[in-house]
Amino acid sequence: MSKSAKGSHHPLDDLLRTDRIPHIWCPGCGIGTAFSACLMAMKASGIDLERTAMVSGIGCSGRGAGYVKLDSYHTTHGRAIPFATGMKLARPELNVVVFSGDGDLFAIGGNHFIHAARRNVDLTVVCVNNLNYGMTGGQVAATTPSGSKTTTTPVGNPEAPFNLPLLAFASGATYVSRWTILHSRELTESIEEGLVKKGFSFIEVLAPCPVNYGRRNRQRPMDTLRAYQEKSIIMNDADPTRLQIDFDRAIILGKFVDTERPTCVESYDRTCRPPMEPADEEKAA
């Protein structure tokens, strides 16, 4: 609770659908902190909130869109990004924020993620990475560390996880960062940067799922947060190929990519739209 909270009023009340509280998130879950950071960033950024939409897929994290008091779209599993792409391209004046989970954005939705980054669609994508599918009871995800136990890897995950910032970088994202929910100030500032920046911004947020992931991997809620504190190293501009999450050695956080290139809409307008004739320009003016 922030110091400014008085009585029952929460500083984010005007951005929350208070009539939908209590929310579904479990005690100790990290999604709420990531969500608050996202709302604080929206407020702080000064973007026009009347022209801002949040789009989520399906999952515990995907419930974000259901609690924000903005135009908000809770879509289908994995499809938040293509839905948001349609919305942004149809109405470029909208700010479109995608808030969803690791399974949603990188397993079922992985193809959409890389293509939206490649096109440089002007979206801000916040991914809550809790290393598993929380909503469906804790199955292995494309982000689950090798060896970790989940309900579908009962003796340990035989596969290797994605390095998400590397994937985002390689796909062409113009802004890439990673924080944990313990680093809420940096996280908020980073989302804010992503919001005001033109182009495809990707912010990975490490967040505990104590109920489904932690429990099966001998991590109590505090253990996960302690690991975030003890193992994390802030290294802005770190080489994206070295950002694999390693809970035994180091979790590198920071801002890794911050570049410029024309957005999807800018390129389309420049390449595909016929040049305006003077008469048309007068009409447009």
Binding site: A53, H74, T75, T85, L94, R273, P274
Partner: protein
């Protein structure tokens, strides 16, 4: 230089191109697609034309994404469309369901080819008619139109947008490879002679707006993203506020609304065409390209003294149940003519209810049904062989 959205005049164009022009004339300003034979020409035409009229075209990474983008664009207040064929139609089912559940208007053109699976990519069929009706999970109603010529691809695509916007429901334009690739004369009327409809818009106090409170005809006014209503839209079962409610009652209420707005307006939605039906003993029931075959068969049969007529389904869905029931009381038989092995035939049979026999002239796909096959059937069932 910007170009007009309505290309008034006489043209020689394919069904695919005509569907693209119909969309632009209807006010469609967003198209997301993915190449697939025999629907690619719709996307190609729109890729060229859309930026000329101030709209946006995008080729997405697959049909799942294309349909998701169409629903997203429509939620932003822009009339939106995609076009595909069998394999892509299957991939679009997920977000077609999202459009049904969230009551988001959009148009999907399916230029049918023979399936299952990759089937005969370059050859026509009408095998997706039941998928059109039931392809996404859960129970729902939607609207499907079946053009029988390039000219109709133009007009019925406009009609598809108008119905979609009126009822906030996805509308399918179920054409096929034969019509899609057929070049014929297409007359495009002057822009002011084309009636276009836009969705009922949200009005009134923004903080009190209920995005799913039904208005006239059972259709709720719609707020687009960025209009200040701060709405919530979800594919979960939801109440009039748009909020998820996980109860049996909320499910019943929502289903009542999304089914009711179609069911209670059947008379306004359903379109059929009759040909020599008044004194007919035998009724051909057909749609799309097969209705053209059937038209020829009616005339040939009449010359042989068989009183045949045609009921053409301009809207296969919703199915004109009342019409079939009424005819069943007085005719000697129905013959459904379609390029599949019996899909709309099942509906005809159901509505005939045993009061008149229902026969099928079907084909597994790849070519049209020749009029002779239909005439042969008419001869057989009328005892003239």
């Amino acid at each position: 230089m910007t170009k007009p959205a309505v290309l008034t005049g006489e043209h020689f164009m394919t069904g695919d191109e005509a569907a693209a022009e119909g969309a632009l004339a209807a006010g469609c300003r967003f198209f997301a697609g993915y190449p697939i034979t025999p629907a690619t020409e719709v996307a190609e035409r729109i890729a060229e034309r859309m930026p000329q009229v101030g709209g946006t075209f995008i080729q997405m990474e697959d049909e799942i994404a294309a349909m998701a983008a169409v629903v997203g664009a429509s939620c932003a207040g822009v009339k939106s469309m995609t076009a595909t064929s069998g394999p892509g139609f299957s991939l679009m089912m997920e977000n077609l369901g999202l459009a049904v559940c969230t009551e988001t208007p959009c148009v999907l053109v399916n230029v049918q080819r023979a399936g299952p699976s990759t089937g005969l990519p370059t050859q026509g069929a009408q095998g997706d008619m039941m998928q059109a009706r039931w392809g996404s999970h859960g129970h729902y109603d939607l609207i499907a139109l079946a053009p029988a010529s390039p000219q109709e691809c133009f007009h019925l695509t406009i009609e598809a947008f108008n119905l979609s916007e009126t009822y906030r429901v996805p509308v399918l334009v179920m054409t096929d490879e034969i019509i899609g690739h057929l070049s014929e004369r297409v007359v495009i009327p002057p822009a002011k002679a084309i009636k276009t409809v836009s969705r009922p818009r949200a009005k009134g106090r923004k903080d009190r707006f209920l995005p799913y409170k039904p208005g006239p005809r059972g259709v709720a006014p719609m707020a687009a993203a960025g209009e200040g209503y701060r709405i919530h839209v979800t594919g979960l079962t939801h109440d009039e506020r748009g909020y998820p409610v996980m109860t049996v009652e909320a499910q019943a209420e929502m289903m009542d609304r999304i089914m009711g707005k179609i069911r209670n307006n059947r008379e306004d939605i359903i379109r059929t065409e009759a040909y020599r039906l008044d004194d007919a003993d035998f009724v051909l029931v057909s749609y799309g390209v097969s209705a053209r075959t059937s038209l020829a068969a009616v005339d040939e049969a009449r010359e042989l003294g068989i009183r045949a007529g045609l009921l053409r389904l301009v809207t296969p869905w919703p199915f004109p149940e009342e019409k079939i029931r009424a005819l069943a009381g007085r005719v000697k038989g129905f013959v459904t003519v379609e390029i599949n092995l019996g899909q709309m035939h099942l509906e005809v049979e159901r509505c005939a209810g045993g009061r008149a026999p229902a026969y099928l002239v079907g084909h597994p796909g790849g070519t049209i049904i020749p009029p002779e096959s239909v005439v042969d059937m008419l001869k057989r069932i009328s005892g003239r062989t």
